[in-house]
Assembly symmetry: D3
Homo-oligomer: 316 residues x 6
């Protein structure tokens, strides 16, 4: 008779539709002590200004991430051989109605991880969550690779300066990121004001609109971006709306004519070997998804990020 | 700074979309020792003969079951005050291509629970899984409350006598159920042969077609069914296709004109106070579901079953 | 080695998802000579005034009708033992842009069936198609059982007096139906003018609004309706929008608070033993369907109609 | 050559899929001066605690409401002959991130209507919006007909006492409603605490759980409710989650086994002839809807409410 | 207390899900006097021969167009600074069952715009509507940029020579377009007859099949097309089925392997600075859409067209 | 009066939504005698290890294939002028629960076709079906063009060595394919073991990962692949999951960043003029499809394969 196996230790060879849906079918962490990279969910979308639903992102990305496996076919990296990786759960919130209180919960949770030398790879949630994460991981101004349809350097909108279109403006103001080491890739979509685009450029960030990306190709983009970012600590923030809505329809602020998933994969793989302090995937909105496509894309982005984080972590 | 809380101990007051999706947001069992009622998934649909997908049932019922809460508004039962309840995970399989081997895995897993005095409340999976569960829980012929559109007492079909239309014929043959204490409620849908209907009646089971249920009303049905079932050990098997496809479209063999969810709730609440050895909810097929309706109905049926099982368990 | 079996002779015991999708898995008729009841599709929706898509009705009702089987669980009628039943295909059209030309194609096709003593059971298509069918089957004013949310006795609208809200006004004018032997069941939904309601009542039709149906119950409705209809030739027209949108969302002019499918089944079974000249199911609009629910409801209605038609045909 | 007609004056006889989507195809109000009943949208869901999306409610209810027409088939009331009815647009917000500021915007907007003797019939939005509406319409404690799955008399949750589960507790505290003249109909669904149920009953509200409604029938419920409510000013709040998810799946906190739409229609029609100060339909969440069913149900509820409000307004 | 603002003057900074759904959130025109570019809907699909639903196109493109904003990120054009732009509503129809009568209504409506010097940017509707628009805008044979999967120069089909596969053959015959200044881009999909392809080429139109577009790239295509089109008056007709079904599934006659939305955007931007007399986007069929993707693509195409039309109009 | 036309002889000029859904609207074969290319369905998915539903593939590919037409726009091949093509139905099964028995049924059915010189073009079904087809068509080791995300040369998994990830390993072992003449195109997706990748390469197959395909371009890939394959008999197996999930979401094991449909079309057209013994399209899973996109892609792939097979067959 088979021995009872607690479901918090999933088996990667079991059928993918079986078992508890943890991120990538990693085990549930019982403490942060034996974890190198912690996969966490941030089910919060209270700072967005358009179509909601990103609060459901971690749940559904976990669900689809059961389709992920171990060995990267392109790089042959197996992150599970390089690091101890676990699902550390979702950030708990004291109040979901107060952006700043929520942000404090996020910073506190990630700070615990950082204190134990656990690299955070988080799944949002709206893009506002990158700010409180940066507050926890950036002990000095860090370099930023920001893949997105929007620069997210707008100012106060609809009543809050911490809305999901503002995190990197706030991060700049707070000295969390170094604008000279910041690259924003995939930017597109009409705007009512050019404010955000202007802010990024005036602050010294390297803004790569989608047309530039498509014309020059991923290799050239990667090469230049690596030069911008440099050798120091770097954070990577991936907004799923950087990807074209045909590949990732389930997001709050879709903009047509974006990255293909192939381009997104190539971008992330291009950023191997950097000195990561953390990464996130945000703005997956399951209620607007069709057929789980966006959650699957989000899970795959997260897996690719895991591979580059694992390489980084394993060489420390 | 907040203390790290492992996600396997979910908080019922946290936002419903947050945290790992365990059944009813119950904690993950680390052993079977401190559990009175174990919620388990059986992600297997290899014995069905029509539209597939029930293998995804446990995953999505877990997902939607986060919408469940503690106190039953109709009976005021709070199962969590009566019993220790946990998610014990999914049955692990050696082979998914061999019905009988799979059934053996199920019997073995449930037998472990029974051996530790844990009542199994399972979520399938196709209806074939009731047979191996009965093999584990029925130490003598038990009474059976079977709520379904089909009698599931057909014989071999499409090459197997263990297909999902046959479990209760096999259970009868194996002496696992007492046909005189068996009631089948909600039967309907045309058939190519009357074989299954005839078998049930000839074996002495009380077959209540849906028209009888609708004409006499739930109270009368419950009253008679309780008389049939009696005071001894009883198993309850709930096929989601007993419910009308308007309320539960996501199932393999839908038949229009079924039970409403209100009738289903009333049925289960009518069966309080019996001597349960276990129960199951089967045939939720998420790929055919729309808007998660069927998984929500399945989760609610499972919650109502949990309430009656908890009352039964707590009085032992 | 197995012999080649042409797919136009489907096997009712084969898996339901296999084979060509003919109505009810009946064989394709190679001629009209050996057919008692002909199942035909009328893929036309050029006369509707609201949401389109009923042109796709026959295709998807055929698709879902593979879920039907032989023996009616409630009446124990097996239509295939009583009659020779075949799928006779779809009405071919000369022009899809001219309502009257299309109607002529329909009349011609059905007239061929009538000439060979084949009872037509058709699947629309918008409700305008009932008029040209009646032109073929009604050699004298026939009785009419009309189950619908709308009386369809309105006059010219949006430029045509043959629009899908007018067939029974035209049928009355043309002497195809006897208004004193006409019953309209399930009527509901606000209207901009009371014209249609008034016409039906002034013509002497018995109009049963849904509230009356729900208050008196199906048995009482059936009893009165049978008295209205009498012993002579009768045609039954079933608009899927008579059924509540929760059970049948895929239709062009949905009206909430309609019949349940259980009520619809009970109505049709209540009309056993009449002297049918034909029947139709109309207004299934697959593009507005969800999860195939409406096509399944339409297929089941068609199966139940087949049972009553088979009883009628077999006693001639 | 046809004269140019501005699209803000839609034509109820035009095809239903054409024209701007105003509520019920009523004209857009250019001022509040010539309006008796104002249909308004409140696209706000910042106070909910579960699945989001009600912010999209007004948009999609307007969209589906094009299927509505003028004359009620059951009561033969034509509200457009009784009153001047217009779409007065959506409440504009200063900030969407601050519940109390948003609520003030709502109160201000509705107060303008009240000041001009315009009865508000609003479409939410989450249920928190009923509180600021009551602040504008209740010059004394009003009677309340509250149709819902939840009593919404819970206290502070997830950080705000103005969350969508609390409006009627706050309204009671603020003296906006008379608990002795308050009836809550359709209550169901398990709860983690009995607090809300207890509060309602202790405050003297008449709480009718769904089982009571189903057992006694709508007529008896209406009769008693009318006695509770009395002759004075009354407000009616209709939460779409009172309706069963099979009929209205698109809502944030679904509970199975609810009202049918037929029962909902009968309830509203049962409340004709009361002295209404306003009404609302809330919690329609289009991202969770399937096939527009819930928005259609919401639009129909709104039309039925319009009929009873028009009768009330026309007799003043 | 805030002043009442009629909803026909929407605010582009308000939340995108709020307010009446006008095209691009432009104000509703009360007359044609103060309008430079009029956005109009043509909710007609009575001339199509395949999957219906384009009648719902204007409604849903309006709905999704709320996601559009002012400043084009690629060209930095803000059309609202260049021109007065308004939603002028939908073409009203006398009869929806007569293609030619409907076409006359369209010509009349657009002719009113032309008479007042308003450039029409219309949203269909099936592609037959381009013919009656051309009758209103083409005072001499105009150049034509036609982006589509089909040449739409077929002849009579299914009974009408004005069907949606024929508009540009008829336009050629009527002298509305100059075939030597006509370019057709994106053509693909098998055909039962080569008639349409042959007609276009024999008439002297420049037909660019999709393979040519993909091999040569958008820049080369644009360059040649501009040479073909020349300096004179030009009309641009954009069939959404030119775009690949992965990006725009909701259309009547989908053909795989089409333009990406990025290519479509680049094409339109490549056609800046021409002398436009009007433009259209056609064949968006919401009932076949998934997740609003196609309506979003259609709205974005319409916005890009608005930018090029505004530049053209502002230089007159 | 029109003559009765049996629906098993569909008309390619009839409306696409009309008639029985046969593959490509080809006639139903009454025998195999007069057929050059037989289109067959294999509705079996009992050998898959992940998300089910491919059993519904033939049904829905037939359904969407009505959108196909005769003349290939790119190659101008009209397969119906070159060959006699018919729908020969679905493989009948003795048992659906036994992989090897099912495989035997497939081999037997295809062997009948081969015996009558009918080239099989089949539609699956899971990928395991390629093995029994090869057993029927490969009288010597044949060349193989295998387009897929996975090499399908893994070994036993979840209890069977005939699972859908193993067919080409088994085919190699059985001497059905020549590994030196085998090319696998589009491979991608992480794996838990590198076993399958390694096996293919060690066996001498030419494995082209997706990155290579995207970098070198289709022309270069085709050129090399043709060299590998050579002049002898060749079989082409097309797994729909080779195509990106944005274009073909409905499949059991989706992997992002795959082929576009344009690339897939170009690949197949690149393989004109080879000496085909058969071809298949597999792993279309309708329950996971959205909007019929995948079935449409599958039908178009099947049409393109038909064109190359027809050229091959017609030159024999």
């Amino acid at each position: 008779m088979t021995e009872y196996i607690p479901p918090s230790s999933p088996d990667m060879f079991a059928p993918r539709y079986s078992g508890l849906a943890t991120f990538m079918r990693t085990p549930v962490a019982s403490s942060l002590a034996d974890v190198d990279i912690g996969l966490l969910g941030i089910p919060y979308d209270g700072a967005l200004t358009n179509r909601p639903g990103a609060r459901h992102g971690p749940r559904e990305v976990r669900n689809q991430s059961s389709l992920m496996r171990a060995i990267n076919h392109a790089t042959r990296v197996n992150p599970y051989e390089l690091c101890r990786i676990a699902d550390v759960g979702d950030v708990p919130f004291d109040s979901v109605f107060d952006i700043e209180a929520t942000h404090k919960n996020i910073t506190d949770f990630v700070a615990q991880m950082v204190a134990r030398n656990v690299i955070p790879l988080s799944c949002g949630g709206d893009h506002s969550v990158s700010l409180p994460i940066l507050r926890a991981v950036a002990h000095e101004p860090v370099a930023l690779i920001h893949i997105d349809a929007h620069t997210d350097t707008w100012d106060s909108f609809q009543g809050s300066k911490f809305n999901h279109g503002a995190p990197f403006r706030r991060a700049h103001e707070e000295g969390l990121i170094d604008p000279k080491k910041t690259v924003q890739i995939g930017i597109r979509g009409a705007q009512n004001m050019s404010e955000g685009w202007d802010y990024s450029e005036q602050a010294g960030m390297r803004v790569m609109f989608i047309e530039e990306v498509q014309e020059r190709g991923i290799s050239a983009i990667v090469e230049e971006a690596r030069t911008v970012v440099g050798e120091g600590p770097v954070y990577l923030s991936f907004d799923i709306d950087s990807i074209d809505p045909a590949f990732a329809p389930g997001t709050g602020t879709p903009e047509v004519a974006g990255l293909t998933t192939a381009e997104a994969m190539a971008l992330i793989r291009g950023f191997r070997g950097l000195n990561y302090v953390g990464a996130d995937v945000v703005e997956v909105s399951p209620p607007f998804d069709v057929g789980g496509m966006t959650a699957l894309a989000g899970a795959t982005v997260m897996y690719e990020l895991l591979c580059v984080l694992a390489e980084a972590r394993s060489t420390r």
